[in-house]
């Protein structure tokens, strides 16, 4: 009889279905969960910050308008 072993957490199972249902203590996911294959950096989203903008757009437009008057 074939025994199934999880190569990540080393837990043994008597059937394939039992292996597929287990929550692996090493990966913290079941084998069929896609999250298992995502790195934390991909899973987390970081807001994109605008770089190099010191003044609000309105102030920049005002400054351009003033410069054109001169």
């Amino acid at each position: 009889m074939v025994k199934h072993l999880c190569g990540q957490c080393s837990k043994k199972f008597s059937s394939l279905s039992a292996y597929l249902k287990h929550k692996c203590s090493a990966t913290e996911h079941t084998p069929a969960e896609i999250e298992h294959f995502q790195s934390p950096s991909h899973a987390a989203t970081t807001p994109i910050k605008r770089k190099g903008t010191i003044f609000p757009d309105e102030e920049i437009l005002e400054a351009i308008a003033e410069a054109r008057k001169k």
Binding site: M1, K3, H4, L5, C6, G7, Q8, P31, I34
Partner: protein, 169 residues
């Protein structure tokens, strides 16, 4: 969502074998075990590693409709006095092998050199055929491979095993 695929390995006697899923590595040595420690299980000069009996296991199809075109090859230095042999091949494929207890005698299944670059076509079958495909979770044919050395072999080389497949959505 992409298909979820893992590499599995089977070890032990046929009647009481262990099927290890999602193996951590494919280290080869003087023991019939998955993820073995090569420092503790070195291959003696002139001896062979135990055969590896491995499978590509599609755990979930995700949004894929088909998995096919399985390829296996190695990259990196193996050393001048060692050979890496396999049942994987692009022509005269022997079909699906039935699991037998891995041996460190000269393999009668792994008899052709492992490719050192990606083959241009499949060299590992599904359902016994190089043109086979999986449309639901399942396994490839067994990939059987072994390292054979001569008495001049030296330690220190390592090589990587590469597995690839085509996923059709």
């Amino acid at each position: 969502m992409a298909a979820i695929v893992e590499i599995d390995e089977q070890n032990g006697k046929v009647a009481s074998s262990i099927h290890t899923h999602n193996i951590a590595n494919s280290n080869m040595g003087s023991a019939d075990a998955s993820s073995l420690d090569p420092a503790k299980n070195p291959i003696a000069q002139g001896a062979n590693s135990y055969e590896k009996w491995q499978l590509i296991h599609v755990v979930s199809m995700g949004t894929a409709t088909s998995i096919s075109n399985l390829k296996v090859w190695r990259t990196g230095s193996l050393g001048a006095h060692a050979n890496h042999l396999t049942n994987a091949r692009t022509t005269s494929y022997g079909g699906a092998e039935n699991f037998t207890t891995p041996t460190n005698a000269v393999s009668t299944v792994a008899t052709q050199s492992m490719p050192t670059s990606a083959p241009t076509s499949a060299n590992l079958g599904i359902g016994g055929s190089l043109t086979g495909s999986l449309t639901s979770p399942g396994y490839s044919d067994f990939l059987v491979h072994q390292i054979q050395t001569d008495t001049s072999a030296i330690s220190g080389s390592s090589t990587s095993l590469n597995y690839s497949y085509d996923e059709t959505s």
